[in-house]
Amino acid sequence: MTSPERDEQPMTGAVRLLVIVSAALVAVFAIGVVAGMIGAAMNDGGAHSATFYLILLAAVALATGAIWLIVRNRAVMDLPASPRMRKSRLLLYACGVIGIAGGMAFALVGGGGEMGVWTLFSANEPISPRAALILLSVLIVATGLSIRWHMLLDEHERAAYDFGAVVSIYIYFVLSAGWWLLARGGFAPAPDGHLIFWMVMITWLIGWVFRRYR
C-alpha cells in the first residue's frame, strides 16, 4: 500500500512553505542585527555591557533557529521529477531570486531615500533614476520568465492561478469603483492607484496559493 508519508497532504506543503518564508525573513533580520552589532563593536573598540552581549547572543540564536527551520522544511522546495514541472518550478524560483536581487540592489543604491524599500508601496515618493532602471530591468526579465512559466503550467496550477486572477479582478472592480464613489461623495481622499495595485496583487497571490494548497 502507499504509505501516508509518501503522500504528503497539500496543506502540509503550504504550511512548510509559510514556515520557510517566515524563517527566511527572521534570519535576514537577525543576521542584520548581528552584523550591525559586530560592526558597531569594531568601531567602538572598547568593552561592552552584559546587555550588549545578551542581545548579540539572542540574535545569533534567532538566526540559527531560523536557518534550522529552513533546513528542516526544505523538502517542500525540492524540484519535481517530471521534466516539465521541474522546468516550471525552476522558472518560479528564478523569478523569486531575481525579485530578491532587485530588491537588494534597490536598497544598496539607496533608491528609496529615507523610506527605504517602503517607497515601493507609495505612489508619491520619488525614487532615484538608477533605482527606477534597476526595477524596470527586473520587471522586464521577470515578465519574460513568467510568460515562459505560464507555458509550462499543468492544468491544476493554471486553475489555481486563474482563480486568484478572478478574485483579484473583483477586488479591483469593487475597490477602485467603491473608493472613487466614496471620494466623489466626500467620504474619503482621492483613490490611490498604487495602493489598489498592491491590494489586487496580494489578493491574487492569496487566491492562487489558497486554491493550489487547499
Binding site: T2, D7, P10, P80, A81, R84, E155, H156, E157, A159
Partner: protein
C-alpha cells in the same frame, strides 16, 4: 469542488505508486494528483485520457459523474 468521483487513489495504491510517482508518469505536479484524487479538481479531457491510458482502462472505469 469537482463534480466527479474517481478511483485514482485505489488504482495508484494497487500499483504501489506514490502521488509523486504518478505525477511524473502523467507529467503534472504532485498537488494536481492530490487534487484529482480528493475531488477538488476535475481533470481536463486530455488529462483524463492520459490517466486512462496509463492504467489501461476507459475513462468511465476510472471517473464517475454520479456524485
Amino acid at each position: 469542488m469537482g463534480d466527479m468521483n474517481n478511483r485514482l487513489k485505489v488504482l495508484r495504491a494497487e500499483r504501489d505508486w506514490s502521488q509523486a510517482e504518478l505525477a511524473v508518469r502523467l507529467d503534472v505536479s504532485r498537488q494536481a494528483v492530490n487534487a484529482i484524487e480528493t475531488g477538488k479538481h476535475d481533470p481536463s479531457l486530455p488529462l483524463a485520457f492520459r490517466i486512462a491510458r496509463l492504467f489501461g482502462m476507459s475513462i468511465e472505469e476510472i471517473f464517475d459523474d454520479q456524485s
